[in-house]
């Protein structure tokens, strides 16, 4: 980015956290509960976005499609803000994840114990990209059928990956998830400060 200056100190610092998980697990609810949620769209080429499973036969001339992202902001004073990005739920938008994950502080993987399998792609992605993440089990209707330890085993998580039980509709609960993640990211940043980030 030769047109961007990296020498000037940023008077405004924007940090990014991803919120991932399977379809209908509560990503939009989570982002809306803890932050000021707003619409964010991007136009992507269908040939790129949907090359795996889109039949172009019926939309022969429509080349782009709109992808809506959950986008939330939490500001801390005039010079610091945390931005939350919900990852697109459909598999055909995987290519957007790379952009969302680049430079992110970390990620929250929302999981539903009735459909743990849906969390595998996100867990796998963040493990591969060495991005600090927290698994937040969204306990629908307060049902806590499984312990954090059981979920960690079922997802075959690394020892250092925290699992927290949460309620995506509850602000205090969402805050705890984010705090756990920022603490984890702080530790990760401290240990990897000498190595090149992703």
């Amino acid at each position: 980015m030769d047109s961007e200056r990296s020498d000037a100190p940023a008077p405004f610092l924007a940090l990014k956290i991803l919120v991932a998980g399977g379809f209908g697990v509560g990503k939009t609810t989570f982002v809306g509960t803890v932050s000021e949620i707003r619409p964010l769209n991007t136009e992507e080429l269908l040939t790129e976005a949907g090359r795996m499973d889109d039949s172009l036969d019926e939309v022969a001339d429509k080349r782009t499609t709109t992808v809506a992202l959950d986008f939330g902001r939490i500001t801390f004073g005039d010079d610091l803000a945390l931005y939350l990005f919900g990852t697109p739920g459909q598999d055909r938008f995987w290519f957007l994840w790379d952009e969302l994950a680049t430079g992110a502080l970390g990620a929250v993987v929302l999981a539903d114990t009735r459909r743990l399998r849906d969390s595998f792609p996100a867990v796998d992605y963040f493990e591969r990209h060495r991005l600090p993440f927290v698994v937040a089990v969204n306990c629908f209707n307060g049902l806590r059928e499984y312990s954090a330890c059981e979920v960690a085993t079922a997802l075959d998580l690394d020892e250092e990956t925290p699992v927290v039980l949460c309620d995506a509709r509850d602000r205090e609960s969402g805050k705890e998830v984010l705090i756990t993640l920022v603490e984890l990211a702080g530790e990760a940043a401290a240990t990897s400060a000498t190595t090149e980030p992703m």
């Binding site: 405004f12 940090l15 769209n41 939490i74 990005f85 430079g103 805050k175 920022v182 190595t195 980030p197």
Partner: protein
């Protein structure tokens, strides 16, 4: 395979002002200029040497960033334009010297640990 009689109506037909009109036909900017979602945009005082005719969308971006610096994702959300379109408009403003872009700081290169401490304290206080 193509039905030439097919027509689109309402939302299917897309916005009244086509997005390619807003960006004067450009779908995306060169990869070297690609602005990250978290790149912070600062409005600069207008340079008398430049006579770029601003589109209403570009003028709105300059007004927004004139109040305080905004990240690219914020600008796209506030302007209700797709990210891809906003990137094209920003690259014009950058070339015209009307904005400055500060790339995001990777987490491992944050100036000090107190920033994350502030985030944690700020979250607790929400």
């Amino acid at each position: 395979m193509t039905d030439s009689d097919q027509r689109w109506y309402d939302e299917e037909a897309g916005p009244l002002v086509r997005l390619y009109a807003v960006t004067t036909g450009r779908a995306r900017v060169g990869s070297a200029q690609r602005l990250d979602l978290m790149t912070v945009i600062h409005a600069l005082p207008p340079d008398a040497g430049h006579d770029l005719v601003l589109s209403p969308e570009q003028a709105a971006i300059l007004r927004l960033c004139g109040t305080r610096p905004h990240p690219v994702a914020d600008i796209a959300s506030d302007s209700e334009l797709p990210l891809t379109v906003v990137r094209v408009l920003l690259s014009d403003l950058l070339a015209a010297g009307l904005i400055r872009a500060t790339p995001p700081v990777p987490p491992a290169r944050l100036p000090d640990a107190r920033i994350l401490r502030r985030v944690i304290d700020g979250l607790r206080a929400l």
